[in-house]
Amino acid sequence: MEIPYTATARPDTGLYNGKLGIWLFLASEVMLFGALFSSYILLRVGAPVWPHGSELLNVPLATINTVVLISSSVTMVMSWASLMMKDFSKYRMYMGFTILLSFVFLVIKYFEYTSKFSHDIFPSTSTFYAIYFTMTGLHGLHVIGGIVVNAYLWGPGNKMWKSDPQRFTNRVEIAGLYWHFVDLVWIFLFPVLYLL
């Protein structure tokens, strides 16, 4: 027996299985990053002095990265919209841009990290750097996860567009939801760590 509602929505819930699944997953991700943000607040409130992020971290690079991630969200949603319009070559193009932009983000992040390391600044230096490296590092891992999924959908996974276009579009939507969440985390991380 086939498992129902893998591609089409169940009438009374209005959702296909994957969409509900990814939202539940994102709910747990909210709890994960929520706990880290709460820890940040607790540590900061408990500390006698807390440095200004803008004085220790590279704000221009982070701003560029913010622009990069917002753009990648735009290209991500465009790739999904292209599939809705049955335009597969445009999908490939936009998805390709998304992957490219995520790599740009990681490269910039790499330069940020290595310049810190070259100044003998490590997570163990202070609680501020500890939480900075932990949170951006965990976010970076999420970016890498997103790249893997998007690259699969751009490359080998796109065969499904021929066999089952509806499900393939759903998969791209699910990847898009995840990718938006990862970008949203950055939208919160950026002001909290770099500006406040």
């Binding site: 919209a81 949203l184 002001p191 500006l195």
Partner: protein, 68 residues
């Protein structure tokens, strides 16, 4: 919530971030900061307007897609 709805939420929050950024820069300018702060503030406002324009065009383009 579909990707369409989440994208609109994401753009709205990005607009908010831009405005907060420019407000912060403006505040530092009034405290006696450099002209660079003013440039930041204007850029922030500019990107907020740009994002709003984009959001409206996006909604028009995907008029037929459900929010659910």
């Amino acid at each position: 919530m579909s990707l369409k709805a989440f994208h609109i939420l994401f753009i709205a929050l990005s607009v908010l971030l831009s405005i907060v950024l420019s407000a912060l820069a403006l505040y530092q300018f009034t405290l006696g900061g450099s002209g660079l702060n003013l440039v930041w503030a204007v850029t922030g406002i500019g990107s907020a307007i740009g994002l709003i324009v984009y959001g409206v065009r996006f909604l028009r383009k995907l008029r037929d897609v459900s929010f659910l």
